[in-house]
Amino acid sequence: MTTKTKKTTKNKKEETDILVNVENLKMYFPVTSGVIIQKEIGQVKAVDNLSFFVRKGETLGLVGESGCGKTTTGRAVLQLYEPTAGKVQFNGIELTELNANEMRAMRKEVQIIFQDPYGSLNPRMSAGDIIGEPLKVHKLVDNKVQYREKVAELLSIVGLSPYMADRYPHEFSGGQRQRIGIARALAVNPSFVVCDEPVSALDVSIQAQVVNLLEDLQAKFGLTYLFIAHDLSVVKHISDRIAVMYLGHIVEIAPANELYFNPIHGYTRALLSAIPIPDPTIEKTRERIILEGDVPSPLNPPAGCVFQPRCTKKDKCKCSETTPVLIEVSPEHWVANCECCMSK
């Protein structure tokens, strides 16, 4: 077991180190009702005014509970959804302004790995064809021999055997299927990969294999990840920095260890305390903050601070009207500026 202090702290980096820059991203979905005539009766504010950046070669973790908008964020960043508003710059290029053709070419650079290793692979295609399809689409190979060589290489990169190319998804285990999804994403040599819950459906021992693989590939190819998951332990392990989402908003963003050892926002603190550590001795004395109530619906989100209805100090809240903005409380550590939600 080797201990490495993961990736030296990258304070004070110049703008040029930023690969993905997201500003005021909004993704609203219309809510319709009516059987024959569909009437728009409201909007789901799945993602509301997100701003964050990802540096070259780093992993930004995105955590939060079901429905808080993690997947929507990943998809809107990759322009798989057309954002309602906001900017997404990739390597200085404004993605929201690209036309369909330009975006298609850009897809070579930005890829996604999906959550569900069962549903995301076409059951009628062999593993080889699933992995090789993007090679054909982007015309990255000249002939069949090259194609087969490249597929074999991709399979071995993700720890599968080249002879498995002819097998079909149902012949693989969950972890192996997730590897196929990773190989497919890597086929086009991307620089940025959105990993949407890539290990959530897997058993812990298999989860560890996939997490290690993602780390190895990052080291080898200098990949940049947006790593989405609801399991904060996994996110903290793989990420350099972590953004915590709640109801379409980022409430806190900080370097991974800083977030764990010095959480400021009430939601972050509750989330951390809700995650048990596999150590009964530590658990005996750990502080537990048990939140009351459920996550409100994004259909009618509370005005002002979105966490207010579940905040233990809500009576003192001063931002019931306007949404708090992120402020930098210490280098690289940003928190939604709601006084009652902030500790100390």
Partner: protein
Amino acid sequence: MTTKTSKSKSTTTKKDNVLLEVNNLTTHFFTQDGVVKAVDGISYNVHEGEVVGIVGESGCGKSVGAMSVMKIIPNPPGRIVDGSVTFEGENLVDLDESAMRKIRGNRIAMVFQEPMTSLNPVLTVGRQLTETLELHQGLRGDELIDKAEELLARVGIPDPRGRLSDYPHQFSGGMRQRVMIAIALSCDPKLIIADEPTTALDVTIQAQILELMQGLAKDYGTALIIITHNLGVVARYADRVIVMYAGKIIEEGSAEEIFHNPMHAYTRGLLASVPRLDATDHVRLQTIEGLPPDLIAPPPGCGFAPRCQKKVCKCPETPPAIVEIKKGHYIADCKCCMTK
């Protein structure tokens, strides 16, 4: 080190407060492809008021083991082929269905992973609560409604009286699981078996539900079996931990022993493969190479042998016996899988 053939022998001293005694329980599924040895000779005890965690990876037989205790194994294709389940002095394996019905939901209750599928969508929550109360406790009229209201209040549902007339879909996932727990509590069971009770729920809701269950178990002296694949949940809530692998128990001990002094290679591998929230340095995760065996044709000896790193297994032919390696700490006696 003393060899034991069945757990019951080694704990006879504590026999007085043993509530559930599972002995050599063996449940197989007779399928077209062959006999699936889903649960293959497991033995354990649960004492009164104790919280026991059962962990293991997908398909290792946790649910089938619990369903066997409750005798709700779909037959065909499944059948309890051997062993006994002694609950309050009675062997449940010998009981007929009508006798079992008096025990299920009454003295032993079960909470499942998916509250939506275990609640009836066309009946109000109140009706589902009163149904069990009527059946097992013979309550009628106002008494029934009052008790139902009290139960919803006990699991922390606001406006309990008003919510009795609501249908399951009008509740959130966490609230539905609370209703399931209220139903489980309705007859003051001696034992609650919770099979992945919070896996489908968000972490903050998961914490709410588990705290609730632990609190209720403490207050009413109910024993609790929590089945989960989440090692953290077990560390936080269980007094004793059972680790299953490929249809068998491979290690059992107090939570402290299992987490601080794991002896079986599989338990150690499992613990080293989960990242810890409180880690300060980045340590590469340990992996367990390979996959669990096919339960139709498992290895004849130690089930973990094909994945064991030492591969000097001395038990390739016969399954290792369970030995008590330290007081209250049991392990499958496979020399290569054991650490000193």
